[in-house]
Symmetry: C2
Subunit: 409 residues, 2 copies
C-alpha cells in the first residue's frame, strides 16, 4: 500500500484566480502533499506566466487541452461557478478526477449532471472547499460521533461579517445571491458535518442588502430526519462582527481587526462615489487577490479578509457554533474546543493539522490511491447546495421547503 | 391630570410566592409607585403572617374574598398558571384590574376567556412579567422604531442557562414543557417588542432533557407578516452559559458566577441521589425562594439565579440578541446598547430606570388613571403564548405552524 499511497498525482488547475492564490500563499502543507503541480489553464496570461515560472508547469488558455493533458490526474476546477458543469463534464470525459470549488454548480440539475458524468467515467468528484474541513469542526463532529456526550440534540451557528462589502464585482455577488450560495455552503457543510444525518426541511428568510442590492443574509431552521435541528444565521453587511465573540480571531485563523468591517465597508463606499467607474474598480481589486496579480498590497489582502501566512496562529473560525448534546455542549475556542459537561468546562486543544483545501487534496489522494469514495463527493455537495437553494426558495415562497436530495455522511 | 395620575391604587396579591418575593426584595422602585399594598391571599399561613407585619395589609386564604375586598383596585395574579383563568375571571367579576404573571394561562382558550371577561367588565388585564420590559430591550425597540438605522430586517436571540436544573418540583417544570411556556414568553416577548408587527409562522424543534425528562430547549424560526424574521434558541440544561458572552452579567443584572450552572446542576444531581425524597426536597428549595419563607440562604438564592439587591449593578440580561437593521446592527451591552453602524460602533448608555414588574405596575397605573390600553394586554399575552404553544406543536408535528391570534404592538 505504501507505494500506491505515496504515488504522486499530477494536479492541473482550471482557473488560477483567487482560490488558487489561497492554496499557494496560505498552505505550506501543499508542498508536502503527494501531488505534482503540472498544469494550469486560465484566460489571464500574466498568471499563466507566473505559474510557468513558479512550477515549471504547462499552461493552457483552453480548458479542454488541460483536461486532455496526460500528465494531469486530478483537475482542480476553480473557474466561475457557472462554468463548473461544463468543466466537470470535460474532466470526466478525459477520465480525470476532480475537485470542484464551492458552489458546486448553479443548479441542482447541473450538480446531477456532474455527479452522473463522474460516476459514468469512474472518477472521483470532490465537492470543495468549505470550512467543514477546519480541524475544530472535524473535532466537534468526532466528539459528537464518539457518543461521549450522548446523543446530539441541536446545532446553532451564527456568522456576522463583511462578505457583501468585499470588492466583489456586482454581477458575481448577485449571481450567488450574496452570501447564500457562496458562504452558505460553508455554514451548511459545518452543520451537516457535525450532524452527519439526512436533512429534511428548511424554513428560512433572507434579508436585503440595500447597498449591494442583493441578498445580505438569512435566518434558517434546518430540520433533520433524526429529529436533530439546527439554526443558521448570516449577516454579511459589515455591521456586527462575530469575531468580537471569539477573541478577534479571523476567518483564516489570523488576527481580525475590530476596524476591519468598517474599513472594508468604507472601501466600497469610496468606490461607489464614482458609479461610472465602480465595476472597473471592483474588478481591479478582485484581480489583486488573484494568483499572479501584477500588484497586491497588505490593504488589498485585508479587503478579502486574508491574513499574512505568519499571522495565522489560531484555527480558522467561521462563526459562533454551539453544539448541544444530551450530556454536554461544545463550542470552538481559538485553539481548540471548549466542552461544557456535567463536571464543568474543559478546554480541549486541537492540533493545527492540515487544513482547508490542503486537507481536501490529501483526502482525495487517499481516496484515489485506495479506491474508496471521498466523504464530500458530488452527492454531498449537491445536498449542501440544495439546502442553500432551499433557503432562497423558503424565503421567496414564505413557507417551509421539504428537501429531496439529501445524503448522510 | 396630576391628581388622577398620582391617585394611589390599592394593590392586592393573589399568591405571594416566588414572583412576589422578587417584587419586594429586588425592586426599590416599588415603594415609589403610586400603589398601596393592601391585601394578599395565599394558602401559606406563614407568608400571610409576614405580609400582615410588613404591610399592615389584610390577608385572606380565599382568593374570592381578596377580589371582593373594596380596598383592592388591582389584583396581582401570581398563582400557579393553571389557576390563572379562574382567578382572572374572578377578578373581572369584581371589576378589578389585573396583572397576570407569565405564562398568561395554560391554553389559548383560557387566554380568550380571560380577555373576554376583562373586556366585558371594563377592566385592564396586563400580561406580565417578561424581560421585554428591560430597559435595554425597550431601548433597542425604540431605536428600531426611530428609523435611524432604516428598516428592521431580522432579530436573532440565544439563551443558554440552567433553568431546567433549578429545583423546580418535577410536575411544575413539566407542566410548562420545561422552558417553553415559562421562559419562552420572555424570549418571544423580547422579539415581538423589537419587531412590533404581526407574527405569521413558527417552525421549531425541541430538545429533550434526559435529566428532568421533559423539554430542555428549542430552536425556532419566527416569521412576521412584514417579512422580518427571527430565530430563537434556548438550551436550559446548564451546560453552556450565555453569560460567558456578556461579561458574566446575570439574568437580573447581578454578577453571574462561571460556576453557577455547574453548582445548580450539582444541587439537582445531589437531590436525585435520593429519589424517594426528591420531590419533597425540591419543594423545600422552592419554598426558600418564596415570600415569607422561614429560612433562606445565599446558596438557595443562587439556585434560583437571584443576586442580592446590592449586587445588581448592570441591566438585566436574557441572552444574546442581535438586531439587524438596514443601516446597522444593535446588541445589548452590560450598561446599555452597542450600535454597529456605517461609521463603526457606538456605545449608548441606557439609564437603569424602573424595571421588570415595577415598570409594569407603573404602566398599568398610567393606563388605569388615563383610561387607555396597556401595551401588553391580554391579546398581546395570548399572542406570545400562541407562539410558545406553536413551538411545541411545530416540533411535535415536524412542520411549520401558521399563527392566528397575533397582534401588533
Amino acid at each position: 500500500m505504501t507505494d500506491v499511497a505515496s504515488r504522486e498525482l499530477g494536479l492541473g488547475f482550471l482557473g488560477i484566480g483567487q482560490a488558487v492564490a489561497r492554496i499557494f500563499q496560505q498552505y505550506p502543507d501543499m508542498s508536502t502533499l503527494p501531488y505534482r503541480v503540472v498544469a494550469a489553464a486560465d484566460t489571464r496570461s500574466h498568471s499563466l506566466a507566473r505559474f510557468a515560472t513558479e512550477f515549471a508547469g504547462r499552461t493552457y488558455t483552453d480548458a479542454e487541452q488541460l483536461c486532455a493533458d496526460p500528465s494531469v490526474d486530478v483537475v482542480y476546477i476553480a473557474t466561475p461557478p457557472e462554468l463548473h458543469r461544463e468543466h466537470a463534464l470535460m474532466a470526466a470525459h478525459y477520465r480525470k478526477h476532480m475537485i470542484v470549488e464551492k458552489p458546486l454548480a448553479m443548479s441542482i440539475d447541473d450538480c446531477t449532471a456532474m455527479v452522473e458524468a463522474a460516476q459514468a467515467a469512474g472518477v472521483q468528484l470532490m465537492a470543495g472547499h468549505t470550512h467543514s474541513f477546519d480541524a475544530p469542526v472535524r473535532a466537534m463532529a468526532e466528539l459528537v460521533r464518539s457518543g461521549d456526550l450522548g446523543e446530539l440534540l441541536m446545532v446553532n451557528t451564527w456568522n456576522f461579517n463583511d462578505f457583501n462589502r468585499r470588492p466583489w464585482p456586482t454581477s458575481e455577488l448577485r449571481s450567488t445571491s450574496g452570501p447564500v450560495l457562496n458562504q452558505g455552503p460553508h455554514q451548511v457543510d459545518i452543520v451537516r458535518q457535525i450532524v452527519g444525518g439526512v436533512a429534511r426541511t428548511v424554513r428560512a428568510s433572507t434579508i436585503w442588502d440595500d447597498v449591494r442590492k442583493c441578498v445580505g443574509g438569512y435566518t434558517c431552521h434546518l430540520g433533520f430526519e433524526s429529529g436533530v435541528s439546527a439554526t443558521l444565521v448570516y449577516d454579511a453587511r459589515a455591521f456586527f462582527d462575530v469575531a468580537e465573540l471569539h477573541s478577534w480571531v479571523a476567518e483564516d485563523g489570523g488576527r481580525r481587526s475590530p476596524q476591519a468591517n468598517q474599513r472594508v465597508a468604507s472601501n466600497f463606499a469610496a468606490l461607489s462615489q464614482n458609479p461610472d467607474h465602480l465595476e472597473v474598480a471592483l474588478e481591479a481589486q478582485k484581480e489583486q487577490g488573484r494568483y499572479g496579480a501584477a500588484t497586491t498590497t497588505e490593504e488589498s489582502q485585508e479587503l478579502w479578509g486574508y491574513s499574512a501566512p505568519g499571522e495565522i496562529i489560531h484555527h480558522p473560525y467561521f462563526g459562533l457554533t454551539v453544539v448541544s448534546c444530551e450530556r454536554g455542549a461544545i463550542r470552538q475556542s481559538p485553539d481548540g474546543l471548549v466542552v461544557y459537561g456535567q463536571n464543568g468546562l474543559q478546554e480541549i486543544p486541537v492540533a493545527r493539522t492540515m487544513r482547508g483545501r490542503a486537507a481536501e487534496l490529501a483526502e482525495l489522494h487517499r481516496a484515489i490511491t485506495e479506491d474508496r469514495p471521498v466523504q464530500h463527493d458530488g452527492r454531498w455537495g449537491r445536498a449542501t447546495l440544495e439546502v442553500c437553494f432551499a433557503i432562497l426558495q423558503s424565503a421567496y415562497e414564505d413557507r417551509e421547503v421539504v428537501l429531496s436530495q439529501q445524503v448522510s455522511l
